[in-house]
Structure formats: structure tokens, C-alpha cells
Amino acid sequence: MTGRFRIGGARLMHIYTWVLIAWLVLPISVMILFGFNDPSGRYNQTWQGFTLKWYRDVFALEALTDALVMSLIIAVLTALIAGALGTGIGYALGRWQFRGAAGLNLLMFAAISSPELVMGSSLLSMFVSLGISPGPVTITIAHVMFSVSFVAIVVRARVVTLDRSLEEAAADLGASGWTTFWKVIFPILLPAIFSGVMLAFALSIDDFVITNFTGGTTETFPMWIWGATRVGLPPQVNVMGTMIFVAGVLIAVISNVRSRPKKRVAA
């Protein structure tokens, strides 16, 4: 990798990478910044001075707080259910060859690559056809549906790299299949399951399109924001967005640092 041209090109690309990252981060910075803004009227769109009062009064708007709590509850349920179901699929697909595996793969691929709009509208079609009332339950059902494949893939990626001799050793030592799984395999899979669960949580808390179709009058955080854009977003939205952002980044960084020495597989 020598030669003037290549070094010059690499430096250019390095600068370019940072420019692109700056562009990616720009709207996030705006969001964070305007959480500290002190607007006079109902509209938080020009900088009018620094304040911390929105951090103090972050939960002052009851409807917004309710929406955030609703989002958190749904995300936790989604993470747990999709985590359990996805781990089952991921483990089976990674561990065994079985009839139907290809079909399941295809179904998961379709669920991942289908447009959200189509998944949301088809769920609504089914709910209105069956006379099922949209609400928190249907939102959770939908969120589990679109996140379970992601969990499965993350877990499977770890399972295929498992050293099968571990299982054999455990069996030699007299452990049953069940014990082997819980005592030996599960702890090894745990970090992958954790990233799968966090991924499902993140997908759920961010979802707008599918929730819009399956939620009825239920307001989640993104839904509330969507409705409020028409009359001006209160700065509390920026504060909550900032808090979610910081929490997400911290969790990602911590889990990343913890897993690094083990050279964990992509997740």
C-alpha cells in the first residue's frame, strides 16, 4: 500500500468519511441542541437562549409522558417475546438441518425485506376483517412479528460458530441434553441473545409506520411526535429523544467493550 496516489486517495477518503459522519450527526445535534432552547411561543424552531428547564420539566406534559411509557412497555414486551421466539428459531436453524428450514428462512427473509407499509397495512386488513380492535396488544403483536427474524439471525450467527466438541464433552461427563443446553450452551449464547433482545427493543421503540396502522388511538412516542408536528413540538420531545439516544449509545458502547476481548461474532 505504497505510492503517492493511494496515500492521497486514502486521506481524501478519510476526510470524506468524517464529512459523511458529520452529515449523519447533524440532525441529531439539532435535536439535542433544541432541548436546551428557550422558545417564547408554542414553536421551538429558532434559537432563543439557553435553558435547562425542559430537563427539569421533562415529564410535565402528561400525554407525552404517557406515550413514552406506552412505547417503553411495548418495547420491553416485544424484546422479551421476540427474544424468546427468535432464540428458538435461531438455535434450531444454527444447530440442525431439518425439513422446512429453507421455507422458514424464506419467510424470515420476506419479513425482513418487505416494506413496513405493506406489513402494517396487511395487519390492519386482517384486524378489520376479523373485527379485532387495534390497541397496545396488536402493536406488540406486530412488533414481535417484524423483530423476531432479526433476533433469530443474530442468535443463529453465534450458534453456527459453536464448538460442537463442547456438547460432546458435556455428554461424556454424563450431562443430559437439557442440562448441557442450560449449563453449557446457553451461557455462551447469552451475549448474542442479549444483542438480539436489545435489537428488538430498539426496533420496537423506533417504529412508526407499522404502529400507525395497528395502534388505533394508542399513542406511542413516535406517534405522539407525528401528531404534534402539526402544532409545534414541545422541547420535552427533544429532551426525551436525547435521553433515548444517550441511553442507547451507552448500552451499545458498554456491551461492545465487554464483548470485545472474546472477539464476538457480528451481531
Partner: protein, 287 residues
Amino acid sequence: MDRVKRTLAPYLLVLPGGLWLVVFFAVPMATMVSLSLQEGDVVNGFVFTGHWQNYVESLADYQTQLIRSLVYGAVTSFVLIVLAFPVAYWIAFYGGRRKATYLFLILLPFFVSFVLRTISWRMLLTDDGVLLHPLKEAGILPGDFQVLGSATAVIAGLVYSFLPFMVLPIYVALERIDPRVVEAARDLYASPVSSFTKVIFPLALPGVFAGVLMTFVPASSDYVNSELLGSSETTMIGQVIQSKFLSNSDYPSASALSFTLMAVLLVGIFVYARALGTEDVMKVAAR
């Protein structure tokens, strides 16, 4: 007995999740097809009559929006390849020990709600907003200059929203390349340009294709960007479907359009899956 348990094990593990996908992914699609062939209105109910004219009528009314969406999606994917390739290339070959950190930075937007990010752009780009107002004051731009409402604004929004989905698969493909292959190519071809076009780019192609699939589908079916950043001149098919479902309660023609969109994209998706397999996408999707 133990053997039976063994053979059953994968099925038992797969069953709950698989069933969930069938019941809440596959069955709804079928319901939507059924709904798209029904007639009636929301007050008196809809009845299945095999009314395929729903397709004819709604396509006659909204083919412009459908084609526009596919064009926006294609332009978005193309712009993304150009923007994302150098970044993925640099991280893959020059990222060194910081590769993971750079990828993490590229993924940062995902920690902010999609809707909130798009609203931030809207705020930045608004006619008298933080970006345009100073430029107008300084006389650099004419007073009636606007970005919002144009196709450019919508496509820029789409590009922003889906950039990481292009960087990651290209990166994964480039990462796979054995450095010795690259070196051999450099020895073989005199110019760096031809070693790039003849060796590196072809090897990165699966990643590019995966990226196209992962950006074209969500971009052409998106309605948040065109709703927040566009105008009535940039209406995309997603907005039409959305408002037919969630404003007019005109379920049959909404379903017909939604299924048409799905069918168009499905053709693309399955041609892709048949030709290139599903692994690249699945792998990146899991990141």
C-alpha cells in the same frame, strides 16, 4: 425415545416463532389480497365479490405516484452507492483497529427515532430556518428560495434515512476480500483504477446488490420523508396507500395499491433472492 425427541427438537423450537410469522405476516398478506377484491363502504361493510376493477381504477388514478416512488427509490439507491462506497472502502481497508468505531458512528442515527430525525431535517431546511435564513439575509439566496417541497428534498431525506443500509453491506463484502487478492491485483494491473474496476468492485458487487435491496424497498415505499419534506408535487405511493387506509377508510382500493406495490417489489426481491441468495441481507439486517 431420545431419538424422537432429537428429531422433534428443532420443530418444537421453531414452532412458536414460525407460527407467529405465519399468522401475523403471511396470513395478513392473504387477507389484504382478499380485501383488495371486495366492494362496499366502511359503514355498510365490505363484501368479497372478486372486484378486480379496484386494481384497474386505483392504478389508473395513481400510476404517476407509483412510478414516481419507484424512480425516487432508484435514484436514492444510486446516490447511496456513490456516497457509501468510498466510506465502506475506507473503513474496510484503512479502518485498522477502529473499524468497529467507525461503523458505530455510521449507525448513530439509528439511536434517534426515525420520525424525530426527519423532523429535525424539516426544521433545518425550512424556508426561514437556521440554514436558509442567514443565507437569505446575506443576499446569497433569493428571498423566495426554498428547499422543502421539492423532489430534491425528499430524495435527500431518503438518502439520509437509509445511508447505513448501504454502507454496511458494501463494507461486509469488502471485508471478505482477502488482502492478498488485492495485492495480486495491484501487481497484475498497472493502474489503481483498473485494479479497482477489474477486481475490487466485482468482489464488492454482492454487497452493492444487498445494499440496493435494503434501500430501494424501504425508500420507494416510504411516506414519512415525502410527507414531512415534500409537497403535493412529490406525493409517493406510500402516502396514497396511507391516506386511503387511514383517512378515507377505503380499504379495498388501499389494499389493491398496497398489494400492487408489494407485488412490484416482490418481483425484485425474489429475483434477487434467486440470483444472490438471502444471506447477505440477513446478515447485515442483524447488525
